[in-house]
């Protein structure tokens, strides 16, 4: 990294050696602002490329200051990009054309599906979406045209995109949703709105409806998946052991003390056994909760349901043999415990234990 001749060659362009000599400087400027090594390297490259491109316009002695400013600009534009990416993560249906030449048919189908999906939107939804996505009109000017606010337009666009995704998938699969509940569930999944998903009991619907279970996969694959969730499908005895081990592991990650780990694993064992005993199939979803710290376990099944939930929960304190559902015991081991059951459809048990309580 010897100092390159500052005077530069007689010509108007700096020599490659001079550019090379900038590397440590640029690297330091970038590294001070971008912690990730790989990204930093990319930015250093980009800076050097820009400096090189502009070098003819840069006065001989000004190469370094120019490189510093360029590096800062490159970093700043990375932040802007990241921000934009975050704001645009919700854009769906990848509108870029697929590349593989042998996928012509697929492309054709895809286009038809998009067209069909677009046709199912209202005129206004479609106009706004196209103005934004295709013509590149920003939300503020759209808001001005529509007499609304940018935020409201953005929210509306989000909902429209969510619908478009659902309609697109339905058109692509040539499927008509078998029940009234399908569309609301798919929409809730598509928009990533967890509250709405709970309201429409999306998870249960996916257990019951094969069409939605299949369609939901690409919808749920979007955005950030929360890796704190562990899902254990339950059908047989062995799954009970798997579910309680998984719960123990997640709880250990949350930092529960050993006695609590055993309590949580045992509670999971009880509620999971009910799925195996009384229902055809179901699942246990284990989730680490933050603020307050804790663990939440949802066990749901498609099955006969419990006719009298109160009775299932009440077996006195010290005896166990009531209805033998294992529910009262599980409830005593956890801090929060709720059952929703519908005869003929199934049961959902939601239980939570808070870290550091009791």
């Amino acid at each position: 990294m010897a100092a390159a001749g500052r005077a530069g060659p007689a010509g108007d362009r700096p020599s490659p050696a001079e550019i090379t000599a900038l590397i440590p400087l640029v690297r330091r400027v970038v590294a001070a602002r971008v912690p990730d090594r790989a990204t930093a390297d990319d930015l250093v490259q980009e800076t050097l490329a820009r400096v090189l491109a502009a070098s003819a316009r840069v006065e001989p002695g000004m190469l370094e200051p120019y490189a510093i400013v360029t590096a800062r600009n490159v970093v700043a534009s990375l932040w802007r990009d990241q921000d934009r990416q975050r704001r645009h993560q919700h854009r769906v249906v990848d509108l870029r054309p697929p590349e593989a030449p042998d996928e012509d048919v697929l492309v054709q189908e895809d286009r038809e599906a998009v067209t069909a999906a677009l046709a199912r939107l209202t005129d206004r939804e479609r106009a706004t979406l196209l103005a934004h996505e295709v013509a590149g009109q920003d939300t503020r000017s759209l808001a001005a045209e529509l007499g609304s606010t940018a935020g409201a337009v953005a929210a509306q666009l989000n909902r429209t995109r969510a619908r478009l995704r659902v309609e697109y998938l339905l058109a692509l699969e040539n499927a008509e949703p078998p029940t009234d509940r399908c569309r609301p569930v798919l929409l809730a999944l598509s928009s990533g709105d967890r509250r709405r998903q709970r309201e429409v009991d999306a998870a249960r619907h996916l257990l019951e409806c094969d069409v939605c279970a299949r369609l939901s996969e690409p919808l749920m694959g979007r955005g950030r998946t929360r890796d704190a969730d562990v899902r254990v499908p339950v059908q047989s005895d062995a799954d009970v052991v798997a579910a309680r081990s998984a719960a123990r592991e997640v709880a250990a990650g949350v930092g529960f003390p050993p006695t609590d780990l055993t309590a949580i694993a045992t509670a999971v064992s009880e509620v999971t056994r009910n799925i195996v005993k009384f229902a055809d199939s179901g699942e246990v979803v284990i989730e680490a909760v933050e603020e307050p710290r804790g663990i939440r376990i949802v066990a749901r099944d498609v099955g006969p349901g419990i006719p009298d939930v109160d009775r299932a929960l009440d077996d006195g304190y010290s005896t166990y043999d009531g209805l033998g559902l294992g529910l009262p015991g599980a409830r005593r081991l956890m801090d929060e415990f709720a059952i929703v059951s519908e005869v003929g459809r199934g049961t959902t048990v939601t239980m939570t234990k808070w870290w550091g309580e009791r």
Binding site: A3, R6, P24, R28, P60, E64, P65, Y66, I68, S318
Partner: protein, 304 residues
């Protein structure tokens, strides 16, 4: 929190003198280090007076302050020189260990490091203010390193502080529910003071663990010193007694006050099924009889 040297004067990199200095960038840090070494005394004193102005580290005497600030200063410069924070980390931990018991708070430690960052940045500013390009580069080199140092010290301190607090909590908890192996197979738990949920939980862990460690067959829990307990805790106590039995140990409770006995009855405990004995002495005699040691009373017959 931010250093005050970060004002507008650093923005004009692309303007000013076309004659940026010819020195290689690699030479910047050594130059900086040399500068800080050269002016060590003056800079350190400036730093100390800033610390005093801000009323930080008041727990320290002047001598201590002089000694510690010199060490921190030297460590600081060393990090700039070597780029390795290992030594500083170690020192920060040692320092934390020494000053935490004296009540030094996190903000003070972070504060003094930021002040030092500030003092040094100002001195660099003074030195290079006539050469903008150079100043810019020096600060670019200095700033990230200084931030890293501040971060290292803060993290070390907080870690150490948490460790000390945890240790203290643990030992207090253990002290609050002592498990005493008085003779082979026999444990005593004298509990004094209010049993709240956290202590009750601790008691369970200590007792059940103790049964296994000491291979205890009989446990005497003396609650003479417990003024009262709520139903949750009473219930917890009863559960602990049952759990002890599942581990093969019998529990005798001594010193049960009428109030607590009432609480136990209220939550549905059948007192006739719990081994309760008036005082600790009686409880110990019963325990020894159960263990088959020489009966101290004539009527101590072995179980049928």
């Amino acid at each position: 929190m931010t250093g005050t040297q970060d004002d507008g004067s650093r923005t004009g990199a692309r303007t000013e003198e076309p004659r940026t200095t010819g020195s290689d960038d690699e030479a910047l840090l050594p130059e900086l280090v040399a500068h800080l070494r050269e002016h060590r005394t003056k800079l350190r004193q400036q730093w100390v007076s800033r610390i005093r102005e801000e009323n930080l580290l008041q727990a320290m005497t002047s001598q201590e302050m002089a000694a510690e600030t010199t060490s921190v200063y030297d460590n600081y410069v060393e990090v700039l020189e070597t780029g390795s924070v290992a030594a500083l980390q170690q020192y920060a931990r040692d320092l934390s260990e020494r000053i935490i018991p004296r009540g030094v708070e996190t903000h003070e430690v972070v504060g003094i490091v930021l002040l030092l960052r500030d003092v040094l940045a100002r001195s660099l500013f003074e030195k290079y203010q006539r050469d903008f390009g150079m100043l810019n580069r020096v600060l670019d080199a200095y700033e990230p390193a200084a931030n890293r140092i501040a971060n290292t010290v803060a993290v070390s301190f907080v870690d150490e502080r948490e460790r000390v607090i945890r240790q203290q909590q643990d030992s207090i908890r253990e002290l609050s529910t002592p498990v005493l192996p008085v003779r082979e197979r026999l444990l005593i738990l004298p509990i004094i003071g209010v049993l709240d949920s956290e202590r009750a939980r601790q008691l369970t862990v200590q007792l059940l663990g103790g049964i296994r460690t000491h291979r205890a067959k009989v446990v005497v829990i003396d609650i003479t010193g417990v003024p009262g307990m709520d139903e949750t805790v009473a219930n917890h106590l009863v559960q602990t007694v049952d759990a002890s039995r599942l581990m093969g140990a019998s529990v005798i409770i001594t010193g049960l006050s009428p109030d607590i006995a009432q609480t136990l009855v209220t939550i549905g405990v059948d007192l006739s099924k719990m081994a309760t004995i008036g005082d600790l002495q009686g409880g110990l005699e019963e325990a020894e009889r159960m263990l088959g040691y020489a009966p101290s009373r004539p009527e101590g017959a072995p179980a049928p």
